[in-house]
């Protein structure tokens, strides 16, 4: 296998910081920059963005002369199910209510792992929903509707 003569991870890393710096710089130009003596809301963000771009460049340039490992495996399945779980909670907590939202969130997150069987996932989610409702809703009296309007 041919050894790469650059560090792919750090090239992505440098590029990422440059990109983020550029986006933030563009955002900070939308508000007033102010002057040295009376710094505006955009002054500090712009300075930091430019610094971030500079650091990104340093990382990028250094990466071109180093040898490094590739990025490695990526947990695609995990990304989909895990990061969507809180979003699903957000979408359902008002409609389904607390019980339903906890159940669906846990169920969805369960599918992130290949080791989880559907039956176990259902049981786990139901138990979690019951436990959370008992503790947070009945026990601590959190002000969330247990059963939301979608189910009424």
């Amino acid at each position: 296998m041919k050894q790469a003569t650059f560090d792919p991870t750090n090239i992505i890393c440098g590029a990422f910081f440059i990109l983020v710096g550029a986006v933030f710089a563009w955002q900070s130009l939308e508000v007033e920059l102010g002057s040295w003596l009376r710094i505006g809301p955009g002054g500090m963000p712009l300075a930091l963005s430019l610094l971030l771009i500079l650091l990104g460049l340093i990382i990028l340039l250094a990466a071109l002369r180093e040898v490094g490992e590739p990025v490695g495996a990526i947990a695609w399945r995990g990304i989909v199910f895990i990061t969507l779980a809180p979003i699903i909670f957000g979408f359902t907590v008002r409609g389904l209510g607390f019980v339903g939202a906890v159940f669906i969130t846990a169920l969805f997150a369960s599918f992130a792992s290949l080791r989880m069987t559907p039956l176990r996932a259902l049981l786990l989610s139901a138990a979690l929903a019951a436990f959370s409702t008992a503790v947070f809703s009945y026990g601590l009296g959190l002000p969330f509707e247990r059963i939301g309007p979608w189910l009424r």
Partner: protein, 502 residues
């Protein structure tokens, strides 16, 4: 001053059966809720606050609330160590080496160290409060915007030591954190900025949402890689309790952490957030085995945990002597006092000596209960590590959704969790560490706000930072830290260069 008489009054108040009972309930509830992943001290207290309203007696309800606070904080450290889920800025530092210790099979030792460190720090800080609360307040009031700004500079300089990989990347992460901290409404001008027009994000990105995303979710995703080929394994748990050698090595870090935390905790305006980070940097610098940091160094848990607990304790000082909250938790405490019919102010100690000294005495009792309660529980927490990972993470996701949502009932906070989970994983893949980013996130708004306010107060005269003595002293300290941090590595670099030339 009749210190002994006051303390006697305090202990007489706090050690009645009812009050010890409330303290125990508070510590227990705080630990149990705080240990749920993704639910940190602020969320725990916000959730449990209404319960304390049910108690008729203000002293008892405050004692219970304070107990909840210590308990929640300890619970937060537990999740930081066990599953890399810090619930508060201070336990983010504990997560760095605590979680590594857990992965090395030393979860029990890490938890015991945290408990012992917290107890020692709590005891010393309680004595400090009893002895010096009023004079310490006078010092705290000397801290204006210029001083805070210089203090933040010291913190930023120290933050570089948090990294155990590339220094440039660590600085880039700090800068990214500073930028993220500025997203939302600008305090000085009121303008909303850097938020792509999303005012739903609120005044600021939610700290818990970011911490949960960057640390916890990113770690879950990392564990889900190569599921088919690799068994997710924690090393076998070896020994729950610290050995004699461990004790010897945690003593100095605990004392240094306590000193640091006590000093920074009294500053109103959340000076305490720096304590844990600063303690970590110092321990790494003075350690004879700095290479262990980031791979499970005992001192990396003992120091920051003590600093964090001492700071938590002394942050009561501005509240008790001035009636001013030093952090969101103290704001909740003041709300609780008002509901109970006590409006906090500079005269609480004179008008309500039983409350004032009772609360101080209960701090020590609370810490004592906490350690009695938690040392036996360590075995139980460590057993949790045996729960298969695929069962653990749906539980984590459910609880952290509930925890994040409960603080502000804002669904956007949940979207922030998801976004930062993804970002955290991405950064992890790029071999960038999340702790410096989190420190930047906490310091960013404080630094900017105080810098700009100092400039307004000095009518645009930047020399204010060097003509005010405390500020100048802090800046000198920052320079000194820079020299200490960079000189050895610079010298080493130069030596390497010379070797190549020969």
């Amino acid at each position: 001053m009749d210190l002994l008489g006051n303390l006697a009054l305090g202990f007489a108040t706090a050690s009645t059966l009812a009050n010890v009972g409330f303290c125990l309930i508070g510590v227990l509830l705080g630990t149990l809720i705080g240990v749920l992943p993704g639910i940190g001290a602020t969320a725990t207290i916000a959730m449990l606050l209404p319960i304390t309203f049910q108690i008729g007696d203000p002293v008892s309800s405050l004692i219970m609330l304070a107990g909840i606070y210590y308990g929640a904080q300890y619970g937060g450290s537990t999740t930081a160590i066990l599953i890399n889920m810090p619930g508060e800025s201070s336990s983010a530092v504990t997560a760095i080496d605590g979680y590594q210790m857990a992965r090395n099979g030393r979860a029990g030792v890490a938890l015991a160290t945290a408990a012992i460190g917290s107890f020692v720090a709590g005891t010393i800080a309680t004595v400090l409060i009893a002895l010096f609360a009023p004079p310490l307040t006078t010092i705290a009031l000397k801290f204006g915007s210029a001083e805070y700004c210089s203090l933040m500079v010291v913190g930023l300089v120290m933050s570089v030591a948090l990294a155990h990989g590339s220094v440039v990347k660590a600085i880039a992460m700090v800068v990214l954190g500073l930028l993220l901290g500025l997203v939302g409404q600008d305090v000085i001008s009121g303008a909303s900025r850097l938020n792509f027009g999303l005012i739903q994000l609120g005044d600021q990105l939610n700290f818990v949402a970011i911490a949960v995303g960057l640390f916890g979710i990113a770690e879950i995703l990392r564990n889900l890689e190569d599921e088919r080929t690799r068994e997710v394994l924690m090393a076998r748990v070896t020994g729950l309790m610290p050995t004699r050698e461990d004790f010897r090595r945690m003593a100095a870090p605990i004392l240094r952490g306590t000193a640091l935390g006590s000093a920074l905790g009294i500053l109103p305006g959340n000076g305490a957030v720096l304590a844990a980070f600063a303690s970590y940097s110092i321990e790494k610098r003075v350690s004879d085995r700095p290479e262990e940091f980031g791979r499970g160094a005992l001192a990396g848990v003992a120091g920051p945990e003590s600093a964090n607990n001492a700071g938590a304790q002394t942050s009561f000082i501005p509240m008790l002597t001035l009636g001013i909250p030093a952090n969101p938790v103290m704001a909740l405490m003041i709300g609780a006092m008002i509901i109970q019919g006590i409006v906090p102010g500079p005269n609480v100690a004179a008008e309500n000596p039983a409350l004032f000294w009772g609360l101080i005495a209960s701090m020590w009792i609370g810490n004592l209960l906490l350690i009695i309660l938690n040392l036996p529980l360590i075995g139980l927490w460590v057993k949790l590590l045996k729960v298969p990972y695929y069962v653990l993470f749906p539980i984590i996701m459910a609880f952290c959704s509930i925890g994040v949502y409960s603080v502000n009932s804002n669904v956007w906070d949940l979207y922030v969790v998801a976004f930062f989970g993804l970002l955290g994983y991405f950064l992890l893949k790029l071999r960038c560490e999340p702790a410096p980013l989190l420190l930047g996130f906490v310091l960013g708004p404080l630094l900017e706000e105080n810098l700009r306010r100092a400039m307004i107060l000095s009518r645009g005269d930047p020399t204010t930072f060097v003509t005010r003595p405390i500020s100048a002293g802090l800046l000198l300290l920052a320079v000194a830290v820079l020299v200490v941090v960079f000189l050895p590595s610079v010298r080493r670099k130069r030596e390497e260069v010379f070797v190549e030339e020969e």
